[in-house]
């Protein structure tokens, strides 16, 4: 490795370490790292400003922004709360049924909408319902975070790593439905049954006040029915278009941004308030990471990694995929899965350029990045959200509890994904 590659790798690894320690906000780390990378590139002449701009994947950013605008419009309508309250009533106060219903609702919504927003809005209602019933909310909250993170892996728009992978590998919405969803469904059910089993004692508690839950009025949680229906209609149309994107030869970003535009025109909200709900820090973080990893690639650091992988040719490709699932999952459990994914993408692209069949590796990356986050309390943003909210209840979710109940779920889903990956491998090669 030359000096440029070593220094570029150092910038990236130090940034990752800083994101891991959470001493600094990840967006600050990202922007600083990107600036340093461009500076280094200019000084050593391997990375120009126009290279840095070209490294940004605007397809992913556009898709994220479009979906964020739709969520921003739906958020204040009370639609998410409505779903949670509805689930509460349908459960008739039975804890196990509540776990299944809330887990399913959160998963279904977060397969198409940002799962952090979904969890942020559904978890408080979950706590409320648990307090009303007099049961421990921790199993429900953990199930919502884990199941929505798991389910999100099934679709192109379900989680950010998928958007990145889809854009880089040219995988369509339909590809994800065909190749990822069956495995994700299996993993999801395993996660659900395992959570049910691990929390059997908490879930066996007989609720004190079932009648109170039956008096909840879902309709009253839906503050703005008209707007909710409009946004959902637009969202439904966008999902239909996602299915045929390859036939229409349009990008997912184009569909998402068009849907956002249509929804904005139809709803005509207070734009300032709507745009305040957009998570700009996430978009800036992504852009900064693209610039940083672009520099890493230009410096030749990733080429060294590619050569290293190619030199270990004794390993059968299918096992390399399984190894990728576990390696990415382990990394995603302790550090943000977005920088991991953005850094691995050029490695896979490089392997592909050297004639190695990479189609299966994309799915290995998606499964690892998606399921790995379930393992620790800091593994995903949704996990952090439910843990923080649970501090306001009688039974806070601790890191120890997560290791006891969440880690087994991560291990089981990764094991299931590995097994099914091996079985589906011939299919992935086609």
């Amino acid at each position: 490795m030359n000096l440029a590659a070593l220094l570029a790798a150092a910038i990236f690894l130090v940034s990752l370490a800083l994101i891991f320690t959470e001493k600094l906000h990840r967006t600050i780390v990202g922007v600083a790292g990107a600036a340093l990378m461009v500076l280094l590139g200019r000084l050593l002449g391997f990375y120009s400003e126009s290279d840095a701009i070209a490294a940004i994947d605007f397809n992913t950013l556009g898709l994220l922004l479009g979906m964020m605008i739709l969520v921003a419009l739906l958020e204040p309508t009370g639609f998410f709360q409505y779903l949670a309250v509805w689930a509460g009533r349908m459960s008739k106060g039975k804890p196990v049924r509540l776990l299944i219903l809330l887990g399913t609702v959160t998963t279904l919504v977060s397969m198409f909408l940002d799962n952090v927003t979904t969890v942020v809005l559904i978890a408080p209602v979950t706590i409320l319902i648990s307090e009303i019933l007099g049961i421990n909310p921790a199993p429900l909250l953990m199930a919502e975070a884990i199941l929505s993170d798991t389910g999100g892996v099934a679709t192109l728009v379900g989680d950010p790593p998928n958007m990145l992978i889809g854009s880089a590998a040219g995988l369509s919405f339909l590809d994800f439905i065909i190749y990822a969803m069956p495995i994700v469904l299996a993993a999801w059910f395993i996660a659900l049954f395992l959570l049910r089993f691990l929390f059997r004692r908490e879930l066996a508690v007989r609720p004190k006040k079932i009648s109170a839950v039956m008096k909840l009025e879902p309709a009253q949680a839906l503050n703005d029915r008209k707007t909710a229906i409009r946004v959902l209609v637009v969202l439904g149309a966008a999902i239909l278009f996602f299915f045929v994107e390859h036939l229409l030869e349009v990008s997912p970003a184009f569909i998402a941004l068009s849907a956002a535009a249509l929804a904005l025109v139809w709803v005509r909200p207070d734009v300032k308030k709507t745009l305040e709900r957009i998570e700009w820090s996430v978009l800036v973080f992504f852009a900064a990471l693209f610039v940083m990893v672009g520099g890493l690639q230009a410096s030749g650091a990733l080429t060294s990694v590619i050569r290293l992988i190619e030199s270990v040719d004794q390993l059968p490709p299918v096992l390399f995929g399984v190894l990728m699932i576990w390696l990415v999952a382990a990394l995603s459990a302790v550090v943000d899965n977005v920088p991991i994914t953005i850094a691995i993408i050029p490695v896979i692209l490089g392997l592909g350029a050297d004639g190695i069949p990479t189609a299966p590796l994309w799915w290995a990356l998606a499964f690892g990045a998606g399921f790995g986050g379930n393992g620790t309390i800091i593994g995903s943003t949704a996990n952090i959200v439910v843990a923080t909210l649970s501090e306001k209840t009688h039974a806070p979710i601790t890191s120890k509890l997560w290791n006891k109940r969440g880690l087994p779920v991560m291990l089981a889903t990764c094991a299931a994904a590995s097994l099914l990956y091996i079985l589906a491998y011939p299919l992935y090669l086609r």
Partner: protein, 154 residues
């Protein structure tokens, strides 16, 4: 008119060694909303408000949900009592730093402070910082409104 003229100069307080349960008993008996916590020399070290105790009964989740229209029955929340071990902890674990007003302060200045800090009672201190009374929003409000009718009588 200044705060000294409308405050209650009889102040109920609680020693720093008291438990949360002791504080609750004083709140019930005296029907007040705030108790200064004093050390062995009678010097105030903080205040405890009725609301601080009630958060033990009604956890913070209420603030997490934007509007509660759809909840018609609080169910188990209504009947769940905080556990005994928690209630026997010293009152100092829940107490807040003292925010006091000088006895020479004008009425509306004191009232504005209450609005700004979302308080309903303020301890009153003299120039040396000694606790001399307590004033509530109702005390100040009644004093201010009494000036209206006083004017008309003239």
């Amino acid at each position: 008119m200044v705060i000294r003229d409308c405050m209650k100069s009889k102040v109920f307080s609680i020693p720093a060694t008291a438990s949360i349960l002791d504080a609750a008993t004083v709140f019930v008996e005296r029907h007040v909303g705030i108790l200064p916590v004093v050390d062995e020399n009678g010097k105030p070290v903080g205040v405890i408000r009725m609301g601080d105790l009630l958060t033990l009964e009604l956890p913070d989740f209420v603030h997490l949900v934007q509007d509660l229209d759809f909840v018609h029955d609080f169910g188990a929340v209504e009947t769940t009592r905080p556990n005994r071990r928690l209630l026997l902890q010293p009152v100092t674990t829940l107490m807040k730093p003292i925010q006091a007003i000088e006895e020479t302060s004008g009425l509306l200045r004191a009232y504005a402070r209450m609005l700004q800090d979302n308080l309903y009672d303020l301890p009153v201190v003299d120039a040396s910082g000694k606790l001399v009374g307590i004033v509530s929003r109702v005390d100040i409000g009644a004093a201010v409104l009494s000036l209206w009718s006083a004017k008309e009588k003239k």
